[in-house]
């Protein structure tokens, strides 16, 4: 048989083994997303539903708007995100970690909350416009780009850049001809994830978009919930998922090159870098600060009622909300979700790194691209017979959180897995390390940043997840975002300040978790 250098030392088992690596992730996604959506398609979708949906002018407008705003948002996010990633990967400065944490926080806050804070800050001229959607999308998704690209750029051998520079490449050319191509897989993956996230954007578009600006996702929700047209909604949702998935499957094919990480020490940050970081951090911080201030100020007056409600002095508002247990539950769900998502996600990344069929890649992307409502409906009608009636099992929620986080874990880990030189594993093997030891002594330490990022990201995603959590039936299982939503549904100043206090609490909890678990931010 033929041995290819790229796949050597796998003794010909590469194929089957890589399938095994991806198997847990595939199984989980299949059972929680694929099967339910298929069942929905067969049981509910009527023939011609898609055609009739596609002929509505509102749907056509929504498609056009979705594509256009997603493209613009993706380009803007990629631009700012890669610059930030570069600075965070290569330069050392005071507050680096703080900056890294701050840009992560928006990604996981409930959109309702931050969108309102955003609204309060935006100048009236661009309030509820295309521009405001764009800004909010950048704000929310910038961390996806930063998280995916930073690990890769921090392992580029500085001498490789030196080599390019001695050949006359200007700093700009270093970026365009060396760094971007080397990180291209991560950049395209980040870009495609941002594209999906913004294409299917729901909360932001609803709140910041104003009349006339709707995405397909909003249209799906309307059909399903408002018009009771589950058939049309499901048809539209499935079409959207298929379209989006096939687009990304195409862009993200290239593997990352092996990179060496020879003491990639961070250099002191130059002025432009400090300036850029400060600018972005201020931009991201502004709505967050506005939100926390709003929890303490009413008409320029300081109040503590929001916070004291949270901490639990009994009040009619919080009569049935036991805040400490809500927080413990949220944190517990986050832990469980991470415990599921990180191992199977990293395993899937290892499988993908060895060889990846387009089908496997596409399936691993499905959770990002499928609307929560449709998955919810699917689960509802699929798992409805004893003993498989899991519709209101408590673990369904952390499970779904894990599935939501899974594509992000896979995507952050994959470039890192691919950048580990195969030669190192060979060297370890020659010294007598069994495959397990090899994994433990070479892969695991080098994958450490990927683990850490995956852990922080999936916990944060679980903490902030609202759409699916709210839709699934829960007994006694409010999470923080749900409580915030409940509070926001009431009139009265205290209700609002309490909601803002809870949001600030969620933000702090997220930051705390990211700081604690994502040790990749530390060094």
């Amino acid at each position: 048989m033929t041995v290819s250098i790229a796949h050597r030392s796998r003794h010909g088992h590469g194929r089957t083994r890589s399938r095994l690596w991806s198997l847990p992730a595939l199984v989980v996604i299949t059972f929680t997303v694929l099967i339910p959506v298929c069942v929905l398609a067969f049981e509910v979708v009527e023939p011609g539903a898609l055609r009739s949906a596609l002929t509505r002018s509102s749907v056509v407008d929504a498609i056009r708007f979705s594509v256009w705003q997603a493209l613009c948002s993706t380009v803007a996010t990629l631009f700012i995100g890669t610059v930030m990633a570069w600075i965070l990967a290569r330069y050392e400065f005071r507050g680096r970690r703080f900056a890294a944490v701050i840009v992560t926080v928006p990604f996981v806050l409930p959109t309702v909350v931050v969108a309102s804070a955003f609204l309060a800050l935006l100048p009236a001229a661009i309030e509820r416009s295309f521009t405001s959607i764009l800004l909010a999308h950048v704000f929310f998704n910038i961390s996806v780009v930063i998280r995916l690209v930073t690990p890769l750029w921090s392992v580029v051998d500085p001498d490789l850049m030196a080599a390019a520079r001695t050949l006359g490449a200007s700093p700009m050319q270093i970026v365009t001809r060396l760094l971007l191509p080397v990180a291209r897989p991560a950049v395209t993956v980040a870009g495609s994830l941002v594209f999906v996230m913004t294409f299917t954007s729901y909360g932001i578009v609803r709140i910041l978009g104003g009349p006339g600006l709707n995405t397909v996702e909003v249209e799906i929700y309307r059909r399903a919930v408002l018009f009771g047209d589950v058939s049309g909604a499901a048809a539209l949702a499935i079409a959207q998922t298929l379209a989006v998935i096939s687009v990304i499957a195409f862009i993200t094919r290239r593997p990352t090159r092996e990179l060496h990480r020879l003491g990639a020490q961070r250099r002191p940050a130059p002025r432009w870098a400090l300036g850029t970081v400060s600018f972005v951090v201020v931009l991201v911080l502004a709505p967050l600060v506005a939100m926390s201030l709003r929890s303490m100020y009413v008409d320029g007056r300081v109040t503590t009622s929001g916070w004291s409600n949270l901490v639990g002095s009994p009040s009619p508002l919080m009569s049935n909300i036991d805040m400490p247990s809500v927080i413990i539950r949220s944190a517990g769900f986050a832990l469980i979700a991470a415990a599921i998502a990180v191992p199977i996600g990293i395993a899937a990344a290892i499988g993908l790194a060895q060889r990846s069929g387009p089908l496997v890649r596409a399936i691993l992307n499905i959770p990002v691209a499928t609307s929560a409502v449709v998955v919810g409906f699917g689960i509802l009608i699929t798992y409805d017979t004893t003993p498989f009636d899991i519709r209101s099992a408590w673990w369904l929620i952390p499970m779904i959180h894990a599935v939501v986080a899974l594509p992000f874990v896979v995507r952050t880990a994959l470039p890192v897995v691919q950048s580990i030189p195969q030669g190192l594993r060979d060297a370890a093997a020659v010294l007598g390390a069994t495959p397990l030891r090899r994994w433990w002594t070479i892969d695991a330490p080098l994958l450490h940043p990927a683990f850490a990022t995956g852990l922080g990201l999936s916990m944060a995603l679980s903490l902030g997840e609202f759409g699916a959590t709210s839709f699934l039936t829960r007994r006694d299982s409010q999470t923080l975002p749900i409580v915030i939503d409940q509070l926001l549904g009431r009139a009265g100043e205290t209700a609002f300040t309490t909601a803002m206090a809870a949001s600030t609490g969620l933000m702090l909890l997220t930051a705390l978790i990211v700081v604690t678990f994502d040790s990749s931010l530390r060094t």
Binding site: V44, S58, S116, L119, A120, R206, I207, G209, G210, P211, G212, N214, V218, Y221, R222, A224, V225, L226, F227, G228, V230, V298, D299, T303, S305, G306, P316, L317, S319, N320, I321, V373, F377, L380, I381, D384, T385, T386, R391, S392, S470, F471, L472, T473, R474, R475, D476, Q478, I482, D485, Q486, L488, G489, R490, A491, G492, E493, T494, A495, F496
Partner: protein, 326 residues
């Protein structure tokens, strides 16, 4: 599998904002020996969509919170085992709307609310009718939640269709010309656009019970006897009735009926006003002090039967979306 059914536990499915004191069901458990699990999920619209999809194989035994704008959809989907509880006296007009399949549990009104202080400052008298809203002095003052995505928004549109009949579209055109603002949902309208909470619009579509909530949750607390900071335009109100029903396919029909009976019992009904901000359906339930003082009685709200809502809603919404460009 009925032998394995645990008749001492029963599940009540409700929307997310169904927040009641911890001990709200302890009286029921004490007298019947049945404990109640509360299962929350989504908003009222999502709840209804899920219920109709799982018709016959429900997620719980009793459903709380389908309203008159959604009831027909559910009865058509055969979601309920018909049961209208007679365990307690119910406001008669509500019973009519129940179509003989469910039990009315509470009601309320969607009305235009106004910010008293801001209107005073502007020297404008509060509006009281729908017609007032298109008058020039209220130009640029009203914010309405999007009817396509929020239930108070939809209720307000329905009110106008009842009030103006054929001419409702023309009315909306005039509202738009009068610089109406649309926002995404009630939260967005109330907390970011309404002038009481830092926005720039003194008129907002909200509930008739928002003023007592403003008092109860004022910060700092209002002085004893001070008036509510917001008021309600009494002739703009649309009636919303919420129902509870026994779900078809339940394994515990008797227990479910007992629970529905409990839901309209006086002690339980008297919890509703200050927790869910609705009026009790039980005609003997006593309103709390805050309601007595701060809610205006709505004498003649706009009403629509569930059947009419069901038949007109999609058409109205599409027409409305066209006019308002949303």
């Amino acid at each position: 599998s009925s032998s394995s059914v645990d008749a001492t536990r029963i599940t009540l499915v409700a929307y997310d904002s169904f927040i009641l004191p911890e001990d709200a069901f302890s009286a029921f458990t004490e007298s019947t020996g049945i404990s109640v699990d509360i299962a929350l999920s989504g908003d009222a619209g999502e709840l209804a969509a899920k219920a109709s999809l799982t018709s016959g194989n429900p997620e719980g035994d009793v459903l709380w919170g389908v309203d008159n704008s959604l009831l027909s959809r559910l009865t058509e989907a055969d979601v309920f085992d018909p049961y209208v509880s007679t365990a307690a006296p119910i406001v008669p007009s509500l019973i009519e709307a129940a179509q003989g399949t469910v039990t009315p549990v509470d009601y309320g009104y969607v009305c235009v609310n106004y910010d008293i202080e801001t209107l005073q400052r502007l020297g404008v008298a509060p509006p009281s009718t729908l017609e007032d809203l298109i008058r020039p002095e209220y130009r640029g003052m009203l914010v309405v939640p999007n009817a396509m995505t929020s239930s108070p928004g939809l209720a307000f549109v329905l009110a106008t269709t009842v009030a103006f009949g054929q001419d409702w579209q023309q009315y909306w055109q005039q509202l738009v010309d009068n610089d109406l603002a649309l926002s995404d949902g009630w939260t967005d309208a109330y907390y970011t656009r309404f002038s009481r909470h830092g926005g720039d619009r003194p008129l907002v579509v909200s509930y008739s019970t928002s003023p007592p909530a403003e008092v109860l949750f004022a910060d700092p607390p209002l002085e004893q006897g001070a008036p509510a900071p917001t008021g309600v335009a009494a002739e703009t109100c649309f009636e919303q009735i919420e129902f509870a029903g026994v779900m078809r396919g339940t394994d515990r029909p008797e227990a479910a009926r007992l629970l529905v009976d409990y839901l309209i019992s006086r002690p339980f009904q008297e919890l509703l006003p200050e927790n869910l901000f609705v009026y009790p359906a039980n005609s003997e339930a006593v309103l709390p002090e805050s309601f007595m003082r701060y809610t205006k009685s709505v004498l003649d709200p706009w009403r629509m039967t569930p059947e009419d809502i069901a038949s007109q809603r999609v058409g109205v919404l599409e027409e409305w979306a066209r006019i308002t460009g949303s």
